[in-house]
């Protein structure tokens, strides 16, 4: 047993419930700030689009976007399952679903990389026009958030393997789950805003 | 209010508005340059109304603060009053400022509407202003009243307007954000590239430089026509120059005269002396100008981005317009920037 779970054993379930609620509050507050962050970008995008300045002169390849949407929603599902199994104390399944989420996120980034390469090859850099500017801005920061989530998941997978988590203590996995759902949610707004409308 | 002797309370309540009123009667706070337009005077009036209120509040609050420190300081045997506050006092102290603020809001909204939402409709002079790092360019529509035609009058740095007539400025920038600031007219608006701004004012005085008192004087058109004829000082310093006429010189009259000593002779004319000898006599007033300042940081020469506005009698203004030389370089700025930015403003409005 690791240090963390040793300490956990001494303290009461009520204490741990308190701490879990505390961590959840912290994560929700963080997500609140992230919402404001992306709202600024979306707000600017909406203003610029409604002024007619950023017409989609060259439509993005919807296929890739749709694929990424499916990948990300599936990864949200696997993440939720990982959280579920960690609540039940099933180490093996938790590890499996965490790894799956990680792989799907990898997939997302690979697809994004393919898209970016296509754009660059056709000379559609961020400077090409204001739509491409917003496209790279929004997907770029979203991608950074996906990457951050992947790092978190990697750490969690390793900690799970080490035996840090059990049915009483799985807070980091739950928090990461909240974060991951948020990342997915941002994409669900991004995809129509950039690819469909 | 037991601790407060009645007389001091009375003094505070009467003294504060009294002081404020005194400041108001002074007319201005001393540093504001005189307003030269009707809207400018309205803005000054609002400023002074707010000043009266602010000074009164300032005197009362700072006075009470000072009084508190002295009257309520800790003394052996003295105990503080144990009170968590009073809802009544709280409500009064919230309502009174609220009413004052309401008054200020209403006055401001009414004036704002007048200043920003009611452009002149009766035959204004229309000028396009294109700001750049670090100078001001002006374009007038010329006799055909259409912008973008070869008869347009283009100037850089100095512009002229007729007195007692509305002037409507269309402002835009070529590179970064500047700000078109006419201090005495109380006109200020940021000049944003890609955005067409619109400001307007009306000068009802002509600025002249009084050689005797070395101060700028503002004359109405009638006063100007009755006064000793004003000319540019430049002519008096150099040999008479028949080719250039006076309204094409834009130097400050004051600087030209700094080397001279002058007196008023019996005819009310200023005698220019140098080394004890009369050199020239001149009219008392020299035509002067108002300044245009850039009021938004626009780069390292922001402090040097100055322009001037000459307010002229109508005939002189017409003569000025006629005399402006054609300048291909200046015109290219308009073709290259303004006409591209705001194509709809090429036509008469």
């Amino acid at each position: 047993m690791s240090d963390a779970s040793q300490h956990h054993a001494i303290l009461s379930p009520a204490f741990h419930k308190d701490r879990r609620n505390l961590r959840a509050l912290g994560m929700w507050l963080f997500l609140g700030s992230e919402v404001m962050f992306f709202t600024a970008f979306f707000g600017a995008y909406i203003v610029v689009r409604s002024a007619g300045a950023a017409s989609v002169a060259m439509p993005l390849e919807r296929m890739w976007g749709a694929l990424n949407t499916v990948v990300l929603i599936t990864s949200s599902l696997t993440m939720a399952l990982a959280v579920q199994f960690s609540k039940k104390g099933d180490r093996a399944k938790t590890g499996r679903y965490l790894a799956l989420t990680f792989l799907l996120a990898c997939c997302f980034l690979v697809v994004k990389a393919i898209e970016y390469t296509h754009h660059f090859m056709e000379g559609n850099f961020p400077s090409h026009d204001i739509f491409m500017g917003f496209y790279f801005l929004l997907t770029g920061f979203h991608g950074l958030h996906v990457l951050g989530g992947m790092v978190a998941m990697g750490i969690l997978w390793w900690r799970n393997r080490r035996g840090d988590f059990n049915e009483h203590y799985n807070d980091p996995i739950e928090m990461a789950g909240l974060y991951w759902h948020f990342v997915d949610l941002v994409w669900i707004f991004l995809f129509p805003a950039l690819y469909l409308l | 209010m037991k601790r407060f002797p009645a007389w001091s309370l009375f003094l505070a309540c009467m003294g504060a508005p009294a002081l404020a009123l005194a400041a108001d009667i002074q007319g201005s706070s001393g540093w504001i340059p005189a307003a030269v337009s009707d809207r400018g005077r309205d803005i000054d009036a609002l400023y002074m109304h707010i000043m009266v209120i602010v000074v009164a509040i300032f005197v009362i609050t700072q006075g009470l603060l000072l009084y508190s420190i002295i009257a309520f300081r800790a003394k052996p045997g003295r105990k503080a009053v144990f009170s968590h506050g009073s809802a009544h006092v709280e409500i009064v102290l919230a309502l009174v400022p609220a009413l004052i603020l309401l008054y200020i809001t209403v006055a401001s909204v009414q004036l704002w509407e007048l200043v920003r939402l009611k452009p002149p409709v009766k035959d204004p002079v229309r000028v396009q202003v294109l700001a750049e790092q670090f100078s001001w360019n002006f374009r007038y529509a010329g006799p055909d009243a259409v912008f973008g035609t070869p008869d347009d009058v283009i100037a850089n740095g100095e512009m002229a307007v007729p007195v007692d007539r509305d002037v409507l400025f269309y402002i835009s920038s070529k590179d970064v954000i500047h700000s078109f600031f006419l201090p005495e007219s109380r006109v200020k608006q940021d000049v944003v590239p890609g955005l067409l701004g619109r400001v307007w004012t009306k000068w009802n005085v002509i600025p002249v430089w009084d050689l005797a008192t070395q101060k700028r004087v503002l004359l109405t058109l009638d006063e100007y026509e009755a006064a000793p004829v004003a000319v540019s000082g430049y002519k008096l310093n150099s040999e008479p120059n028949p080719v250039k006429t006076w309204y094409q010189f834009s130097d400050s009259a004051r600087i030209n005269y700094l080397r001279y000593h002058y007196d008023l002779d019996p005819d009310g004319k200023v005698v220019v002396m140098q080394g004890g000898k009369v050199v020239q006599t001149a009219p008392r007033y020299v035509r002067h100008y108002f300044e245009i300042a850039c009021s938004q940081l626009c780069g390292n020469l922001h402090f040097a981005m100055r322009g001037t506005v000459r307010v002229l009698p109508p005939e002189d203004y017409a003569a000025w317009l006629k005399a402006q030389p054609h300048d291909d370089f200046l015109e290219s700025k308009w073709n290259g920037v303004w006409d591209k930015y705001h194509p709809e403003y090429d036509k008469a409005l």
Binding site: F30 | S29, A80, G85, L101, V176, P193, R254, F303
Partner: protein, 597 residues
Amino acid sequence: MSAETVNAVVDYIHPEPTDFFHKYVWSYDHKIVSKQYLWTSLMFLVLGGSLAMLLRWQIAYPNQPVPVWGHLLKGIFVFDSTGAISSDGYLQLATMHGLIMVFFVIIPLIVGAFGNFLIPLHIGARDVAFPFLNALSYWLYLPAGLFMLASFFMAKGAGEAGWTSYPPLSDVAGAVAPVWGMNFVLIALFLAGFSSILGGLNFLATIIRMRAPGMTWSRLPLTTWAQFITAIFQVLATPMLAAGGAMLFFDRVFHTSFFLPHGLVIGQEAAANTGGGFPLLFQHIFWFYAHPAVYILILPSMGFASDILAAFSRKPVFGYRAMIISMISIMGLGFIVWGHHMFVSGLNPIMGMAFMVSTVFIALPSGVKVFNWMGTLWGGAIRLEPPMLYAISFVSMFIVGGLSGIFMAASPVDIYIHDTYYIIAHFHYIVFGATLFAVFAAATYWFPKMFGRQMNAKLSYLHWGLSFLFFNLAFFPMHFLGEAGHMRRLMTSTGYEFLNPMAPWNEFITLSAFALGLSQILFAYNFIYSVFFGPKAEANPWEAATLEWTIPVPVPHYNFKVIPTVYRGPHEYSSPEAAPADWIAQNVPPIRGKAAH
């Protein structure tokens, strides 16, 4: 929180560190993190203040070589080859002075240093909610500060477009503008913003969830309430700055055109960006953050002042509930007034009208607070110790700053005084006269608890007197300059005839500013000397009633041996319950069955 053994809980949160690295460098203890913030921001204060001194020299003595520094640094930094300030250098000074003071001095000082130290102690907790994030917040702030410093050393110097960094000026990374200097500034702001957001959410979670039993919302010290509202601003507004800064960074580095319209011609050449953007968009995004930011700059100091005024008047704060409602109103209104920075920006005048109404009314809660502070003094038994003197002058100068704000809220008047020295006078009265004096008050008040020693009272009084005098001499005349129409960020006003009469005032202000700067040496000496050699202090030298004064000094690692139970409000001074003493602490059980407040 449920009752557990002290050791178990503390070990779970963070065991007492044993080595130097975990004690002083990467520390989870909020008291150490607060001191890290304190020392770093005080150093930035010295830097920011020095930049201002150079600035003032140039304005008063245009193009004269700066004594000593100009000679030493000829041709480098902000100096030209004669040792005078160059035109680019002047703008760098103005820009960096503003940025450093706002982001690297005031916010870290009042939130990072005092907020960190006081919040857990005020609510009866052992630490903040997320000690790891706390340590991380500091270690994001310090590298951000280093990026700011590094920007001075880049080829064209640091940022030059004013602290507001409006594009297109701040966007134009070309022959006339700093390239990597400005980019470093943007990176620094991004990191500092991240630090601020993490700190804010930490404090929110702490205050919401970790209050001791009996510590209800209406028994919190006003310092804590102020930190709470400030943290809400930090979490919700700062991301906007990050977003705007990111878009500006993209414009500069990736040549996008979020803020650049078509057809820009800089000098003779067309701009490299393709256009299609809107300069005003940046202003909206920026001011949506920067207006709440100014409330971040003032609210914590209002909190300090409230608690200190109560403690030294020996009576409760007048209208505690009203104080809270005011702070909540400021929070609500604070998000809908940003357009008042844009009255003359070319913004739609109808929107200008809407912003004017909300702006005039945000004066109301601040006014209520001022009356409540005065009500706190009224009828008290005032002990004029140094913290009290600073706190009273906070109220006095906040009144001046607040009243001057009303002129600018009236938008027709703002047309004339926008971007003049009037606004410089207004915000310096608030940020220096009010906030920084409240910082001096907080520093002298909580010094015994933070360092276990006392500051020298005589030096504090002297420092107060000189600072108060020279501050008013330096900044009040700026109202006159503003009335004359003297614009901001002018390297010299000698080019304009209408400003020539004001030149003597510029010199007067500069000399007063120099005297003000020199007076701060008294505080620095007093502070630093007392940390190491000051006389040892007792646990509660001020006879104050809030929780932090109930624990010994130096404060133990775990703060409270037993989590206290709170029975009354934070300012029960001179209450009948306390008799014959004139104070009773929050955690003392009710005496003789008297009803607790």
